[in-house]
């Protein structure tokens, strides 16, 4: 227990030494037990200081060091690395923060600041006396990634992972891949269709033998953790073995007597119980919607591939990381919100886009010839009162593009944009310019004074107090009102709950750090990409998919993971399982296990974050947090209390 310690007290230029008398601190701690050498330094983090520390450690065969400087958030890792370079275990380094906690906090009281700094350094020395050498926890990591969601983000990520040589399981809940993008027609800026993008990605997927694609598949169970997720997948059958022979599929669809609203077209059209979304959907197999199918057998008579004997399948897979790409739902306005569901010809932006894609000249909706179209922006986004405070990013561009397309496709169309400020950021600004120059009218209002949609006889009238015209009330007689709805999280986001993924205030999945760790989640091994994280356009979804793929791959690429050894450990001889620790654990890292004939708690090292929440709730005090043992903490308290 006679450790030889080196202590360094930093001036931090003057940040510390202007208020804390560092020489006095040095004198006060020099004679502490175990302190072999004590020095002050102008900048402990400078190259020369670091070199000096390495030399000191080597020459004097020190067992540990303490640096009293700034916040550990800034330089803990710097000085741990110094310890490693001097060939001592990095956990024998202890950090004392005498800048944020002393000099900056008490700049009005130099004597007090110095006194406090002395205590802080003494406490750090006490901890260093008991610090143990630790080795990182090593766990095996299965070199395979599950991608959940087969939209553009999911497919893009899967292709990238496959390129890196990582086997991928792509799990899509719908019977077809492509997600929301397959519902889009012509896209800005490339003028490809959504279908084109999906086709390209899907063909790319098929060309690879290390990607397995499951459609109609859902993750129903998860056990395990980073490096070793065990997922159970339920696969709903298509009830169709293969494509029907030439032309018979259409006949089978025609023969089906069931008609239900088609969610692919946002319920503006109906589909049959046997269906495909568009003639070249992926996979190239129609599907029977068994929930709505009456089993009348009409299709079976026509198409030999129909097979009602197919059974639900359950498969288990084992992967090292999970990449979430579950996408978004468009916001559905409430009944009566701008006349939605109450006034005819009030539709949402996704519906409008389907109407444009499906209609031929002239544009007619609900038997009404469409000439004047009013667009009401920010419906379900940027709500002052409602839940969705955020901007959905894509809608301004999307609706302006759609309105330009409407003019180009149908000619004599007049567009009126009731907006709250146009956000066609970046290259998308050219669309706004094009729209203005083509004569579209933009009217603007504040959030507290939105436009009003009313039905007056056969007319639909939209009025607004236009702030660009001195709040003058302006009215438009519209044939179609398009509510420019934003993005919301998937209505059924149960797969997130399965993994205990945290959600933000907006209910989208949350990253660890918005700027620096944008695709990682607090659940180790699970990354997020695309619009399941928040509103994104296709470009942004691809970007995040690529970074999530890289991050997920980094968890599995070496086949082994090194984890921080600072975790809780439970004395299994003394534990009598009461469950209090498991309840307190925010990461679900503690499980009940059988040890011989008694039940005890066990910590999953790969999930434990070393937060210490379990310690105070243990009635028998048998949990120890490595590197923060009772002995270490008590000795620090003693030092701080001056005893």
């Amino acid at each position: 227990m006679n450790k030889k310690l080196g202590v360094y007290i930093c001036h931090c230029g003057g940040n510390i030494s202007d208020y804390v008398d560092v020489e006095q601190v040095k004198k006060a701690i020099e004679s502490e037990e175990g302190v072999f050498l004590a020095k002050t330094t102008m900048f402990a983090c400078s190259d020369s200081s670091q070199k000096e520390m390495v030399e000191d450690i080597k020459k004097n065969e020190l067992d540990g060091i303490v640096v009293a400087s700034c916040s550990p958030k800034l330089h803990l890792l710097t000085f741990r690395a110094v310890a490693e370079r001097a060939n001592i275990n990095k956990y024998n380094y202890v950090h004392a923060n005498i800048r944020e906690q002393s000099s900056w906090a008490h700049s009005d009281d130099k004597t007090g600041a110095t006194e406090k700094a002395v205590f802080l350094v003494k406490a750090a020395i006490s901890k260093a006396r008991y610090a143990e050498s630790l080795e990182p926890i090593k766990i095996k990591s299965k070199k395979a990634v599950a991608v959940i969601g087969g939209g553009v983000a999911g497919m893009r990520a899967a292709i990238e992972l496959s390129d890196m040589g990582c086997p991928v399981t792509l799990i899509e809940r719908e019977p077809f891949v492509g997600g929301r993008v397959s519902q889009f027609d012509i896209l800005f800026t490339t003028y490809e269709t959504g279908k084109d993008l999906v086709t390209r990605l899907y063909n790319n997927l098929l060309a690879r033998n290390n990607i397995s694609v499951y459609t109609g598949a859902e993750v129903i169970e998860n056990s395990g953790s980073i490096g070793d997720f065990k997922l159970t997948i339920k696969i709903t059958p298509r009830y169709i073995m293969d494509r029907c022979n030439e032309g018979r599929l259409q006949k089978a669809i025609d023969a089906c007597p069931v008609e239900v609203p088609d969610p692919f077209n946002f319920n503006i059209t109906n589909r049959k119980a046997i269906y495909h979304n568009f003639p070249s959907e992926y996979p190239h197999k129609p599907v029977i919607d068994i929930e709505n199918c009456t089993r009348c057998g009409e299709c079976e008579k026509i198409c030999e591939s129909v097979d009602f004997s197919q059974k639900e399948e359950i498969i288990d897979i084992n992967v090292g990381s999970v990449l979430m790409a579950t996408g978004f739902d468009p916001y559905t306005p409430k009944d009566g919100e701008f006349g939605f569901n109450q006034i005819n010809n009030v539709v949402t932006l996704p519906q409008f886009k389907r109407i444009l894609a499906l209609s031929n000249e002239p544009l007619i909706y609900n038997t009404r010839a469409i000439k004047h179209i009013a667009y009401i922006y920010c419906v379900g986004s940027r709500q002052v009162e409602g839940e969705n405070k955020y901007c959905s990013r894509y809608c301004c561009t999307s609706v302006i593009h759609a309105s330009i397309m409407a003019k180009k496709k149908f000619g004599n169309i007049f567009n009126y944009h009731f907006n709250r400020g146009i956000r066609t950021y970046g290259k998308q600004e050219v669309l706004y310019n094009e729209s203005l120059k083509s004569g579209d009218v933009y009217l603007q209002s504040y959030e507290d004074d939105p436009p009003v949609v009313t039905q007056q006889g056969n007319k639909i009238v939209v009025t607004v107090n236009d702030i660009l015209t001195g709040k003058k009330q302006m009215a438009v007689e519209a044939d179609l009102v398009v509510l420019v709805t934003g993005m919301v999280p998937r209505a059924d986001n149960s797969v997130g709950s399965l993994f205990k993924l945290p959600k933000g205030r907006d209910n989208f999945f949350n990253e660890i750090h918005m700027k620096l760790r944008p695709v990682e989640t607090v659940i180790d091994g699970i990354t997020i990409s695309g619009a399941c994280q928040g509103p994104k356009n296709i470009l942004e979804s691809s970007n995040s998919a690529l970074s999530a793929a890289t991050k997920s791959f980094s968890y599995v690429s070496k086949g082994e993971l090194e984890l921080e050894p600072i975790v809780a450990e439970i004395d299994k001889n003394q534990c009598t399982w009461c469950g209090a620790c498991a309840e307190a654990c925010p990461f679900d890292a503690i499980k009940k296990i059988k040890d011989g004939d008694k039940e005890i708690a066990m910590v999953n090292n790969s999930v434990c974050k070393g937060c210490g929440m379990c310690l105070p709730v243990c009635p028998t005090d048998v949990i120890n947090l490595i590197a923060y043992s009772n002995r270490e903490i008590e000795s620090m308290i003693d030092a701080l209390a001056g005893s």
Binding site: L436, K437, T469, K472, M474, A475
Partner: protein
């Protein structure tokens, strides 16, 4: 409540406006304008009314007449929406709206119709000359009488009713109450602006342009007075003869500069020209030039053998008096000064 009229943009384009839809309401134009004030801010508001097709707001507004086209707004417009040219077009459109005969609108919108009108006027003069056997004295006498009759008729039948219509749009229809005494006390404002265009001095770039325009107006009015009241072509008074020469020289020198600047497009105001703009400056130039030459022919005694010169002058005069003055750009002389008068009344 006003209903948006999306067809107005297309209508206004026939009067020379273009690209004003590109406006994204930043307001740079209004900020840069040296004549815009907090109470009377323009041109953004006018651009906005034009985009929305809010014609009643435009008709009841004096703002298009408060602009003297320095063009700073167009120079600084980030969207190249040409607010200055839009305001110019609104002045043309308003001129057509004030005109009860609706002929102004037809002439502005159709160049073909304008040409036909000019040809008819020319043929009329030639036909008259033919009927009179090109008798020099009868024709010159008629020319002199025509001037007087035309002035009275054009004012009485066309211009006065149109100014009254302008008054109705601006004061009566919006129900602005103006005490009668103000109509009298405001007249000084009308006269000052009619003869000096002093508001134009407020444009930052405008001192020389204002001076050119000022002496052109004075020269034109003085020549009108000299030919009609002092009977320049028949007088023997040396002072009057020289006065007429000076006035006609001023007119054609200034108009030559105006025409050249429209060709060179070296100022914002001369960048875009409608047929009505060309006709106005060219005919004014021809008026000055032909009057000068006619008097020169008289003084050198060669007019008797060159009656065609007087015929040419008369054709220009008739086209000017019957087309450009009542229905063309000449009217801005009246509407601009009455706009200042009505602004004074509204302020009261």
């Amino acid at each position: 409540m006003a209903t948006i009229n999306p067809d107005f943009g297309a209508e206004l384009k026939k009067y020379g406006a273009f690209d004003f839809n590109a406006c994204y309401n930043c307001g740079n134009c209004t900020a840069i304008c040296s004549l815009s004030t907090e109470e009377d801010s323009f041109p953004r508001e006018m651009v906005r009314f034009s985009v929305l097709g809010s014609t009643s707001d435009i008709k009841s507004s004096l703002k298009p007449w408060l602009c003297y086209y320095c063009g700073e707004c167009s120079t600084h417009c980030p969207q190249v929406a040409n607010p200055a040219e839009l305001i110019m077009s609104l002045r043309r459109w308003l001129t057509a709206e004030y005109d009860w005969t609706k002929l102004s609108g037809v002439l502005y919108r159709s160049f073909a119709f304008t040409i036909i009108a000019f040809i008819i006027a020319a043929l009329g003069v030639i036909g008259f000359g033919f009927a009179e056997n090109f008798n020099m004295e009868t024709i010159m006498l008629f020319g002199h009488k025509f001037e007087m009759i035309a002035i009275i008729a054009v004012f009485g039948i066309i211009l006065l009713p149109n100014v009254i219509r302008m008054w109705w749009f601006i004061i009566l229809k919006p129900k602005i109450k103006v005490p009668f005494i103000k109509y009298l006390t405001g007249i000084w404002e009308l006269i000052v602006h009619m003869f000096t265009q002093k508001r134009a001095l407020g444009c930052d770039d405008n001192q020389f342009r204002w001076f050119e325009h000022f002496i052109l107006v004075i020269g034109y009015l003085a020549l009108l007075f000299t030919t009609v009241a002092l009977d320049w072509f028949s007088t023997g008074n040396l002072f009057i003869i020289i006065l007429g020469y000076v006035e006609s020289i001023i007119i054609f020198i200034v108009t030559v500069d105006f025409v050249l600047s429209r060709i060179k497009k070296n100022r914002e105001i001369s960048k875009f020209s409608m047929p009505s703009d060309w006709m106005f400056v060219i005919w004014l130039f021809l008026m000055g030039l032909t009057a000068f030459i006619v008097r020169l022919f008289i003084d050198t005694g060669i007019i008797k053998n060159n009656i065609w010169m007087y015929m040419f002058h008369l054709i220009i005069l008739v086209q000017w008096a019957l087309i450009i003055v009542p229905f063309g750009k000449w009217t801005h002389f009246l509407y601009r000064s009455f706009a200042m008068y009505f602004a004074k009344l509204k302020a009261a």
